[in-house]
Amino acid sequence: MKEKLFRTDTKALVGSVIIGIVFLIMSQVTGRIDDLLDPTLLLLNGTCWAFFTGLIALMYKQPAGIIAGLVEAIVAMATAYSPLAFFFLFANTIGSLTYSLIARNFSMQKLSHHIIAQIGCNVTGNLCVTLGLIYIVHLDWKIALITSALTAVVGIVVASILDKAVYGALQKSALL
């Protein structure tokens, strides 16, 4: 049986904003570390993005996932934390929607379920970032595609493991 795609109760709406701010703060922290270590690949930041996009979509479903993504992208644009911030609007929205559409077909009890959902989320989200790398940073499309693919691979593996662990812990804690 398919899970519900939408959830519009107050808890989900407020949660989307609050967890969206947590997402934003953690993105800024990991983004600054990435600037020092791997300014082109953004492995930590990409993983953080994938993890939060998945977690929020699992916890509060839609439109909470989109709202949290928009909060992160809008503040990223206004604080200039990345030259690609404008493309985060699309990456966060499309990535979250894709994750929800895939996740609703699974129980999300197994790691493989999380990996499948993260593949969809990372591929669509990182494609938007690839467009940003081409239009804003003026990278060659092949290089842009390779760097995005690397970020996506790391994001899929690490974010799936983290999502399973953290979402499981949150379900057990009865905080959701």
Binding site: V17, I18, P39, T40, L44, F86
Partner: protein, 245 residues
Amino acid sequence: MALAKLDPRTKLAWYILMLYFALSLQSAARLGFVLVVCLLASLILTGSLKLHKVMVVIVLLLGLQILVVQLIFCRQGVLLWQWGILKIYSEALPLTITGILKSTIIFYASMQFFTSASAQEFTLMLIKFKIPYRFAMLVGLAVRFLPLLKTEYVSIIDSQRTRGLKMENVWDEIKAILPTFLPFLYRAVRRSTEIALAMELKGYGRSASRTFSSDLEIKGYDVALITMMLLVICFSLVYRLLPLL
């Protein structure tokens, strides 16, 4: 201050116009002109550019990121210098400048728009766009909780440091992400549950519509400005698309 008199919808139209130019223009000279216009608009409407001093440092950091990327990956133009696999081509600098100008316009226009009105004005603007108030009012919530959660994260870092967590270099900071982030996330989830309950107890979402203490009224000059900006976008699109037809 003239800026306060403008309707948020006019500011939104200006923001869209700037984004359109930042994404559609390709030459550094044109992008530079758009940035100057953007700065002049700020100067005319607010009377000062003092607030934007901080922007210089941020733009420099942003520029540095783009420069590093271009120096590593740019393969256009003539090879100027080579050291092992690192090759620097002549087109790296012009492309960096264009990239910096595009990012600066997007960042500056975003900063201009999001600092130009209060959270309530943004909420009212969303209401005017027929967005249900349960969603529109989340703007105020985000503005209120951003500094609070930031302070909470700093206090979690401090308490973990007191317990002996090292944060002296980048490697330490990477190792500190999980021990600081997990308590932060769980506290945020608990806080959101409490806030949602408090809001529902105060009647949030009970009725389909609600009243506000103030309202937005679009003036004649706002309509004229929005029309002008939309016409500029339309003419520009037609000018671009005509050679293709």
